[in-house]
Symmetry: D2
Subunit: 342 residues, 4 copies
């Protein structure tokens, strides 16, 4: 059985495991005050070109999204997101659970457009009943998006310009950022993201870590943010678990190497899918590929290959996802090739 379900099916990249082992018995301060976390913060801020920023490490994507976005919102504001946004469709209502409303906009190739954000904002500002309405406060984008697409530099600049004009904050969800940075279609780098966003996170869980995401506030964090993460149940006693791993990810370009490995595997995957007449449902330049399968064909495929349910296409078809990652091997791809060829 070969597994293409997700990019979090394995443990950690061997170099991270090695560092965890090497540092295992050294004593370190709790709650993120350890030396590895501080070293990782410096390396990340350096890579992002924002030496005066702050970095916090949290466990996973949903957690960092909810904690960071809610800290950026004021009481009369909500979060603007594409209707395909992870915070809307796959976080079990985590933002609403702590009081935040989502303001949905149509997606285009999984992305928000600056024009739609502008129109929503101007509509609220023009509304004579705006005391009864939730105002836009934070704009949420994902890169790569939930559908594997990428923002261009120009698209993100345009959204950031609307945010600046109207006093909105821009937040980027980088759960799979390594694959976005390494994509052949990549038009954004870390420094540009840091320059345009008020906060963003660099994904660890899906890019080689056991767990952990690095939340970056390039221009400074909300006051008492550490206290706020504790209140939101997101502070780990052994913050070193994140620090050691991110220190390794940002040493000698490992984060980019992981991204490239996943992207090369994805290109091979696309080629195999095409060859077997399973064209991808949406063209994606990153590590997730989406295929529509007839339900019985899906059941047969799953006897040999683990894939992820994505959505119901219609009564007899299902959209499934196949993902590659740093851990995808040539043998995995060959097994898939044979399984499809059967």
């Amino acid at each position: 059985m070969v597994n293409f379900e997700s990019d979090y099916i394995a443990g950690a990249h061997p170099k991270l495991m090695q560092r965890l082992l090497e540092t295992n018995l050294e004593p370190g301060a709790g709650y993120g005050d350890d030396r590895w976390s501080r070293s990782a913060e410096r390396k990340i801020l350096d890579a992002c070109g924002c030496p005066d920023g702050s970095v916090f490490f949290l466990s996973g994507g949903t957690q960092v999204n909810v904690v960071a976005i809610s800290a950026l919102l004021r009481p009369w504001e909500g979060v603007v997101t594409a209707e395909t946004g992870h915070i809307h469709v796959h976080e079990a209502g985590g933002l609403e659970a702590i009081g935040c409303k989502l303001l949905l906009l149509p997606e285009r190739d999984g992305k928000l457009t600056a024009a739609a954000v502008r129109e929503l904002t101007e509509t609220v500002l023009a509304d004579e009943n705006r005391e009864h309405v939730v105002w836009p406060g934070v704009v949420y984008v994902t890169n790569p998006t939930e559908w594997g697409s990428l923002y261009t530099r120009r698209e993100l600049e345009d959204i950031a310009a609307v945010c600046r004009q109207y006093g909105l904050r821009l937040y980027l969800d980088g759960a799979r950022l390594a694959y976005g940075l390494a994509s052949r279609a990549a038009d954004l780098d870390l420094k540009t993201i840091a320059a345009l966003c008020d906060a963003f996170y660099i994904g660890g869980t899906k890019c080689g870590a056991l767990c952990g995401e690095a939340l970056v506030f390039p221009h400074g964090a909300p006051t008492h943010f550490a206290n706020y993460t504790k209140k939101r149940l997101a502070m780990l006693a052994k913050g070193r678990v994140f620090g050691v791993q991110f220190d390794a990810l940002f040493t000698d370009g490992l984060y980019w190497e992981i991204g490239r490995h996943g992207i090369e595997a994805a290109e091979r995957l696309k080629e195999i899918l095409r060859r077997h007449g399973l064209p991808t449902f949406r063209e994606t330049p990153t590590n997730q590929q989406f295929v529509v399968l007839e339900n019985e064909a899906l059941a047969r495929l799953r006897e040999q290959v683990a894939v992820s349910y994505w959505s119901r296409a219609d009564e007899t078809h299902t959209v499934v996802r196949l993902a590659t990652s740093w851990s995808t091997t040539e043998a995995d791809l060959e097994t898939l090739d044979r399984a499809l060829g059967g």
Copy 2:
């Protein structure tokens, strides 16, 4: 200056004021345990044909919607609503503010359809990642809707049938129910609503009361619901203010008389609008009429007639609402007629 902004521009129907005066100095128990509230409850349950139900009185529509719906939800569930639903567009995120997610469906003439509710529910049940998804729990309908339209008996029965099939609860927002019951197009009566819904409220504020809505649980209230209303800041010390008014509203058919008055005024209003070449934006059989006006024409009209901003139509046009009510007079309509004729 004549005022068609809303159905809450005046105080209370004179008969309610008279009863408030008559009972003013009689001592009564606090927090809804007074004799008038209990009498009003009995009359309402009788009118609804559900003698074993419970009635709670709350201050206003947003408050009753949020308190009642949140009490009907389980922790993994959200509220299904048309994207035009009041809880989504005009309650400042009140439901999200206490942790509840909205699940939006397209509106058709301001209404939800049973088919759309069914499809949403089946999609969630079929979702292999449904631990990451908010499940439908309560279905929210408004009657009359935010756009003045009415559910037919058949439409509500179909939605109720989907709810029963999947274990969802059906909640009806009756902020303007008096006008819905009195409409010439009315196909629903109180007993049918009580038979089909798990909870609904009979609007007071917009139908003749100073304030107050009667929340009906026809088959029994959630456990300790009174305590829950206190926790949600919705319990009034002098609950008698609601009790006395609703007792009067449900004496000698006053609630229906109020509805008929508003509807007759609305028919006259429609006729005047038509005569002046201002056809209503959406055809509505109830007391709210919507008109699209060019912005300068709107500014001129507002010099003589107060109307409500509804939404931005485009850069040069605005949708406005004119509403009638129990307090609309023939003189009001004649003034409007002259203002338009100018």
Copy 3:
């Protein structure tokens, strides 16, 4: 049956009812933008000596406490209160329900002391683990307190000084403020309260209104506070109901007249209780008196006089409250006298 249960057993003071009647059919803007609310605001700010402040009208005490305090807190802060504070013991967890922690301090005669607030604050600031702790943010005092006692000017100044020193905000709950201002022991007036507090409310419900409390921000309200009240379910469509009443309460000194009436009745009540050998449990200079009764004696008393359960004294005794108000009559007091004399 005579009723001393509370100060909210009757409707509204006759002068308020008269004004509600007189204005009943005049059209007015919704949601507090009506002329009466604006007039009441001006009169209140004038009485408080803070012309640049803001006033908002909300329905009841619990509602205004929770909405105002939560708007004054920052995410890492909680509310300091005496352990007898209404927000702790009788609001069904309303503050916690929207995310706020209470920081309890011992009461002395129902009051907080400046020294206790200082010590709590310094303890938190000295705590090396203060990221794991809720910081004091708002200090909550009640005047008259839940036990009927009054802060002296000096006591409130001392608390305010601690607040200024440490950046805390001071909030005063004036549910029964009319009786506090009119007490023979009164040492605080409205202008002093306005000068010392960041926010406070002037109680209406217990001081002559049908419903409604006037929340005063003497130095300006939190940004978009009206939107926030909507989100917290506390905005009334017919805000005029509050405006008309408070406009009357602050015309020709009616609010003070109401207070004096209640206090005179309370002095008569104390004298009656003393004469019948029922000394008050705690000496109080305001309109609430507390008596400990043996449970069977209480049951007999209740056959003729309605009184309020306050707390369990021990297995065979109960603390009960008798309250006077603007509506207490000489006949009420005589009936009580006879009932006790039996």
Copy 4:
């Protein structure tokens, strides 16, 4: 510099690291559906003697406390805790942040008593205003407590009996349970705890794991609890990180071995402290020892030994904590001995 700050200063027990390495590249399902988590669940339920129970793995103590307790509460209920309870003093208001009120009781040696729980419950049930009050719903105990003390079997049985009588749920925080089970004073074992509690957790973070706590519902979990953990940001993508570690902890008695090691080190620590005239502040039979130091002496000690601030004793003294764990070595103790002897 030797470190006695806490029991979470090192990484994971070497046997856990070894298992993480061995399984690192094996693919596994996400979100806790992996084989290691299921195996760990079976071993834990077996050790607890409740084969029909359920186990969920969460990241840390605050997270599991808040998620589990809130899921056990009904809307009108709060959590009963000793005033020294971790949920009250060191979780940054996490429970209140999602709407739950704490009901504080005095501590006796860091513990709740059955009598105090009973009295609180009976007081609420007798309260005629109980619609305005938060009812007790869950009783929270910690074992070992925050002050290192242990419940006897009889004490826990008595509390459980009160819970059963009044329909309360009993929850036990076992952050340091390994040290509690291994203490020479231990009177409780896992099977007894499972028989008496509705939910409890077996601490991993402080007992040898990198991160992770095992939440046990011995009689079955709340409906859709997995969905609920996602909503509360507590679901880890690579749940295997917990599964692999707890599988190792519950293989060949490792969890007990870890506990014994920590306790033996604590006995040595107590002996050293005594020898140097630093008697423990509170006598504790577990792995945390509390000492009061004059502030300058503390500063000097901290030049060689890392200890934890616990609380301010008075203006010139501080209570500090020294903790041992599975990772404390004989060399650590000897260094401490020399540092104190200086």
